[in-house]
Amino acid sequence: MNTQWMKTDVLIVGGGTAGTMAAIKAKQANPQGDVLILEKANIRRSGAIAMGMDGVNTAVIPGNSTPEQYVREITISNDGILNQKAVYQTGKLGFEVIQELESWGVKFQKDAQGEYDLKQVHRVGKYVLPMPEGKDLKQILTRQVKRHKARVTNRVMATRVLVKDGRAIGAVGFDVRNGDFVVIQAKAVVLCTGASGRLGLPASGYLYGTYENPTNAGDGYSMAYHAGAELTNIECFQINPLIKDYNGPACAYVASPFGAYTANAEGNRFISCDYWSGQMMLEVWKELNSGKGPVQLKMTHLDEDTIAEIETILWANERPSRGRFHEGRGENYRTHGVEMNISEIGLCSGHSASGVWVNEKAETTMPGLYAAGDMASVPHNYMIGAFVFGRLAGTNAVDYIADLEHIEPDAEFLEAEKTRIYAPMTRPNGVPHTQIEYKLRRLVNDYLQPPKVDNKMKIGLRNFERYQETLDLMGARDPHELMRCMEVHFIRDCAEMAARASLYRKESRWGLYHYRVEYPEKNNEEWFCHVNLKKDSSGEMFLFKRPVEPYIVDVDIETEVYDVAVR
């Protein structure tokens, strides 16, 4: 096996939504600087937006809403636990991002007068901007990465951040095709590896039938943790209302402006707002358990032309195999509601709130380490938030490295990591990663899927701890299998964090995301705070309360409670 050494100024791990933007912005900030994107797949079609996006979920467009209103809405929907300054950035810079994307050729829906055609999906305010022609988003970003002369190394997966003298100095990983060991020295590292999307096991039992792009296995959560950075809100799981079995968005955001809505089996609405939130998920859960289920996205009352228009959008973008799925079942929007189900759990700030702690500059608590996108802790950040924080990470990293030199990584650490990575290759007859992963994720379902029960979570935690040894049974026969094995390591780390953080916060919050049977009420007195975790000096997982930063936009969270069902 060969070792490849690389050197760059700013290393970006993960060339998805946030990563490509971070690279472009770092090059714009200093065209002379060297920027390298390290990507497990190929940036042309990688990550959540591999096939584009149905729309922007959080567009703050002047004349329609203000950053302050946006911060208010997210504060209320996230039950008050957030760093408002960070959320404010998404509200403030989102519009510039949209304009810049547009100048690169990304098409957003406009009305006849050429104004952005925003739709209301949130409880208050219009923030959803459809992009019916959004399928080429990733190619457009790839073109800009090339034009800005950022370097790209595809098909290399990072496994650890290199740390020395208390700061991030690079990353290690391996080439998932030829197996080379890869060491990259950098002055700053930006992690943009997306969600922890392979945590729970989909009800179908198919490991890759996840909502998130299954390449995103929580790599960044785990890497940041091992680097010594803080993570937060991990107990605020991501759970989505998805097309049953298909596990993709139905997608109410697209269809509801056309008149579709979420309904119970009788065809009646039971929630007043289709915007995804823990509170909404709790209502869905209750409805399913009330005997009025299953829950459906209802379109049968709409006319042929409207349905045809919805179909063109849904079947060309984002998850274009949706059409094939319905067809295979002999179902049709004209005659059938789209049956929905509660998804398995995941971690993702893009949709809920868990991630690596970042401030309004995209800095983690580790000097030289930045994070952006679904793995950085800015709640409900979605695609525009990923772009905004990619941009912040890219520009601030360039500032940070101004007077820095490269540091030689620790030879001992490299040797140890090499041994860890390649261990499964020494056991070609070991248990296959598919089985190890299946069992791990089944345990996640068994013990962590809300409603959260104290004793169950404790059993879960014990299992996850013990699973360290199980990982040592895993065998790989080629670099591709090795990639999957290393992903299982990340998944285990995320499962342990999810169990510990959930046990730590002794109250219920965020609707179904953190619904604890033993503590069914919200308790602002004791728990109006973040639950953060990090690796302490002895290598143990350490949890603690971190106060919520002072608000910059006034919201009385005692009286302004997020509600989608009560009249």
């Binding site: 022609e133 009352h301 009249r567």
Partner: protein, 324 residues
Amino acid sequence: MSNDIDSELNQWLEMLQSSDLSDRLVAVKSLQYLGDEDALEPLIAALGDESLAVQKLAVTALWELANPKAVPALLECLASPDLEIRAEALSALGELISPDRLLLLLDALHRDDLNMQLNVLILLRKIHDVQSLPYVLPFFESENAQLREAAVTTLRYLNQVERCDRAIPLLSDPDDSVRRATVLTLGHLVDSEVVPRLCQVLTSDLDWQVRRNAAKSLELHADPAAVVALELAIADEHWQVRKFALQAWQKTPDNRTMPILIQALTDEYSDVRREAAKSLAALKNPAALNALQQSLDDPDRDVCIYTQRAIETIQAATKEISNA
């Protein structure tokens, strides 16, 4: 490193000239991935390849290069006999076209080719330039319904056009889709006949989508003169007409409509019931309270929420008056 790229580029450029179709396909695809500006001219040349598959990939590759120099060549593809090539070229141009290409587009509009004319009418919507008006108008009298529809839709996108009486006769067009488009365009025009004609269409057109669109346009006009027609439409046989008529009515609430609104509270469709509740809220008339109370246990949660809000609004308004 740049040497590598050059030799890679040259390798594909050479292959693009091959007589073997599979080689040319691989070459054009690879050039698309490579995204090298130096491939621009050869790719433009490939638009004339004898294989439609190569042509189509060349369109995609040029789109990804996004170099405006490719616009005239891509424009030619709008008249291609192949539907997929036309569609791909239209999307590409939708992104690449800029206002300084207006003359080029207007020129192409004169070409005696249905596909070219249709696609150019669509592209003119991206430019929003009122200068194209005189070129668009003659299509209102075209023999071809698709062209009439495209032209009257494009009219909606031309900024600064406030009046255009030549559009009004299209309200009696024999083709449903032309009338549907015309009615929407009239939502943005202020000629004096517009509102009366929209009212007429709202209550008499045989196509429900025309009637629904008329309601949408009347909402934009928010003209009290439309109330009588809207009242009739609130009892239309199609629920979408009822829903949008209620929404339009909310712009100019009128107490005389109350009995019809109360009836709509029990409509079969929840969207209509919800709009009825909103409408009663807009009236702030306490006489509606009884009917609203009964809607509080509507099986649809949204209807309940809006009914509750309506009751609160009316009660608050009544209190204000009695306090005054």
